[in-house]
């Protein structure tokens, strides 16, 4: 199709603001799919997304639309993952578009994550069209919501819609045709296509989702991934409706998928440029980045029998998520497990939950950590993503930690509480802005290691759920950090070690020691629990020895019940991890993830 009649756009929205409903309507009104089909195809998502407040990522879809000007247009919807951890993926999806619909709930207003995506869209030179949704609701205040939008975009028009009732949907389609710029690729240049997503199918290999920028592409051709230099023969090519429709080719400006017997997902990198082997484009598309793990934690099966299953699960997840990193790791306390790297906190949560829900493996996750840059006194530089590898204190010259640029949007009544929280978390206020009279945006510089431990939960609880957070890595800064170890009966329990700011070390060490005293059951001997920095003990508690564990009465009528009690006790013991002679219940490992800071 002539590029004149192609429009590529995405939808930016916060969870529950109506993205998928609007997408459904667009597909329905253009006759792309029937209502019944859509349910099955579009809303194919995890419960988790709902629970964690991530918008559902829709499949790309091509719609044919006969506009009021009498011409038929090809509208390609390319969706973006709705969370901060996937900023890079979002930016690549946006890079495949010329325009974006900014969907905002007429009763809610803009949230931090939406805002971050708006900025990404602006960076990618997209035309942004505000769509105010849910105007059918009595509480709808489109004008007020538009004030927030205009605070960011400047004076704009908007399209009022109710995706639920269908009001305004037609106007949205017309706006896409009239305001989203057409693609401006060079038809006759060598192939240049952007990889914006991929999916692994166990029968067909990797399905690569692409936007053709220059030139065109056909089945049978040999393509080359410019970052990895991997070459493949295309066996199938087509577009999404949202199910795959094979066409055998894609032309300049079009969006679709290709399959080429690609078994190794490592060769398909989001943001990479595809060109034709033998007729290569001179320059790859700008903006490619290697995915970077920002948050790390150890994942260990509760039962050591599940180790192989855990490895399988991680491998399977990695097939669809090349940003997941993992390698085997051994802990004295937890046995065999994996050190895993994630794009961010939410990415970590998603992977953990999927392993538990989809693969049914019970796990212990160690406290999440970040990557530290350490310079030793001898000038040697180290990169540490695991407290276990932290060098001896005496030889550390400089330690640098990742700093995040965070923005928080919240109703002004919670500003005090949230600023307190940020201060406790060593945040530095950069500046604040009023979005409207009631809603404020705070810009903070926050150490990433403070965000990864229980920040989001506290943010939500202190603001009754109203605050939203977005952050991105802003660089490294040197900081006075120390490693705190926890010892049980003088044995160091590696899984409890953590790195934190010196000013927090005493409090957190003490909090963990106290918590462990509650959670570790009394045993046959006394258990001293200590927190230490190097050889210096900063806190100590003692679990007294158990004095008795006996059933007073057991006669003919009690035998079954008492046996079952003992069996249960034994089952519980199996879930304990032991360090030296001390048995530690698995809750103990989880609990230290939510130690609250001193107020």
């Amino acid at each position: 199709m002539d590029q004149k009649y192609i429009r590529n756009f995405s939808i930016i929205a916060h969870i529950d603001h109506g993205k998928s409903t609007l997408a459904d309507r667009l597909l329905e009104v253009t006759g792309t799919t029937s209502k019944r089909q859509m349910k099955a195809q579009l809303l194919d998502s995890m419960d988790l997304e709902q629970e964690r407040g991530i918008t559902i990522k829709l499949h790309p879809a091509r719609m044919m639309y006969k506009a009021e000007d009498g011409n038929e247009y090809m509208l390609n919807l390319i969706d973006t993952p709705g969370h901060v951890d996937f900023t890079y993926e979002v930016s690549r999806s946006l890079a495949a578009c010329e325009g974006a619909l900014l969907v905002v709930d007429a009763t809610q207003g803009i949230e931090a994550q939406t805002l971050a995506n708006i900025y990404l869209a602006i960076e990618n030179d997209l035309t942004i069209m505000p769509v105010i949704n849910k105007i059918d609701l009595p509480a709808a205040e489109p004008e007020k919501v538009m004030k927030e939008v205009e605070a960011i975009l400047g004076p704009s028009d908007y399209i009022p819609v109710s995706a639920k009732t269908g009001v305004g949907v037609k106007n949205v389609l017309e706006a896409i045709v009239n305001f989203v710029p057409q693609p401006k690729g060079e038809v006759n240049k060598p192939l240049k296509a952007l990889v914006f997503d991929s999916h692994f199918d166990s029968y067909r290999g990797v399905e690569v989702m692409i936007r053709v920028i220059d030139g065109s592409i056909k089945e049978g051709q040999t393509i080359k991934f410019m970052q990895t230099d991997a070459e493949y023969d295309i066996t199938e090519i087509g577009y999404f409706k949202p199910s795959q429709i094979r066409t055998g080719f894609l032309n300049t400006g079009e969006v679709g998928y290709l399959i080429g017997n690609i078994k190794n997902i490592e060769n398909v990198k989001i943001g990479d440029t595809i060109t034709l082997a033998g007729d290569e484009t001179e320059e790859a598309l700008p903006g490619y980045k290697e995915p970077q793990s920002m948050v790390f934690c150890g994942l260990y099966p509760v039962s050591s029998d599940d180790y192989e299953d855990l490895r399988d699960a991680l491998q399977k997840l990695k097939l669809n998520d090349s940003s997941l990193r993992f390698e085997p790791e051994t802990s004295k306390a937890l046995g065999f497990g994996f050190r895993c790297g994630f794009l961010g906190l939410l990415h970590m949560e998603i992977i953990k939950e999927r392993i538990e829900r989809e693969f049914n493996i019970e796990m212990i996750a160690t406290s999440p950590g970040v990557v530290y840059h350490i310079t030793l006194t001898n000038g040697e530089k180290l990169i540490i993503d695991n407290p276990a590898n932290y060098p001896e204190r005496g030889i550390v010259e400089i330690i640098e930690e990742p700093i995040a640029k965070a923005n928080i949007i919240l109703p002004n009544e919670y500003v005090g509480a949230i600023m307190d929280l940020c201060n406790r978390k060593r945040g530095k206020l950069d500046h604040m802005e009023y979005l409207t009279e009631e809603r404020i945006m705070l810009y903070y510089r926050l150490p990433l290691n403070e965000i990864v431990v229980d920040f989001f939960g506290q943010l939500k609880s202190l603001s009754k759920g109203y605050a939203s957070l977005d952050y991105e890595l802003a660089g490294y800064e040197s900081s006075d950090l120390v490693k705190v170890d926890i010892l049980l009966k003088s044995d160091l329990v590696d899984a409890f070690s953590f790195i934190c700011h010196k000013d927090h070390a005493y409090f957190r060490g003490r909090a963990i020691v106290k918590k462990l005293r509650e959670l570790i059951p009394r045993q046959m001997f006394e258990i001293p629990i200590q927190a230490s920095i190097g050889s210096k003990i900063i806190s100590r508690e003692t679990i007294k020895a158990l004095r008795k564990n006996v059933t007073a009465k057991c006669y003919g009528g009690d035998i079954s019940r008492k046996r079952k009690l003992l069996e249960k006790q034994k089952e519980g013991k199996k879930r304990m991890k032991s360090v030296g002679s001390v048995e530690i219940p698995d809750e103990a490992f989880m609990s230290i993830l939510s130690i609250e800071d001193e107020k």
Binding site: M524, R547, N549, A552, G557, I559, S560, L566, E567, K570
Partner: protein
Amino acid sequence: MVSHFYAHIPYCTTKCDYCDFYSVSGNSCVDEVYVDAVLLEIQERYQGDKLETIFFGGGTPSLLSGKQIEKIFSKLNISTNCEITIECNPETLNHQQLLSFRKAGINRLSIGIQSFNEDKLRLIGRKRTVNAREKAELALKVFDNVGIDLMYALPKQKKSDIFREVSLIPQEIKHVSYYALTLEKKTKLYSKLNGRHPVKDDAQAELAEEVLQGLESRGYERYEISNFANKGYECKHNLAYWDYLDYLGVGAGAVSTVSGIRTENIKDIGKYVQGTKANQDRLTENEQVNERLMMNLRTINGAPLEKRFKTVVDRYGDLLVVKEGRLILTNKGFLFHDTIVGELML
């Protein structure tokens, strides 16, 4: 062969707050229909094996009349040396009744005194309007083999309280069961105390120590975690449980174990009388091994030693001894019976 017979009499005048045995309060005697149902059950399930021990438990079995007991005995094949125990509540004990029990064939009494201190009893929801010590002495006029039940770890109990209790045990009492107060779920006491035992574990362990010393000084020997007796007066019926021998239990809520099959009668007098079928379970090999261990290790005879016990034996040196091919818990080990059994279980 089943040589041990138990009859459950779930009738009480009042229910004590700590009690989790099945019983119905508000009764001053045992319904005739209930005795008839017991007789019917005996007819259906008892094969006529010669009985070495018989035990009437409850509830308050001493609410049975001598006649009712005789009726039951008429259906049983009782060996000449059979130990025949009935549990009694001192509250309703009288001379007449004791004579009728003796006449019926009872030869051992177990009196549920729990405490000689009425204030302490009130704290755990048991009424006492009689002098328990006098009642025990009364029983000793009719029976030679009399045991009493006592409890420690009562609210605010001190070591000196234990000393006093022990000193109040009449000289001729042959057997003392001394239990730690156990807070069982679904009891009145449990909800009254919000599930929190009034005496902490550490203090309980100290009181247990005092109980042991006190009873030993009175000449009783410990032969099970909570049971002490003069030599030769150990309760044979209970030893059968701890030896993991088969036993037949009749009555509402009674349990039997015969040839690896556990039968639990319904805990409902009405339904029991109507003939509701009991619940039966076949125990697996492992369950039997585990139960045998759990029961055996409660007594000073211990359990037959097995190779697989080695690591536990090495680890818990001062809690157990190995003697003549048996693994036996020490006095200290008895305090950790659950821990050790848990380690040894399959």
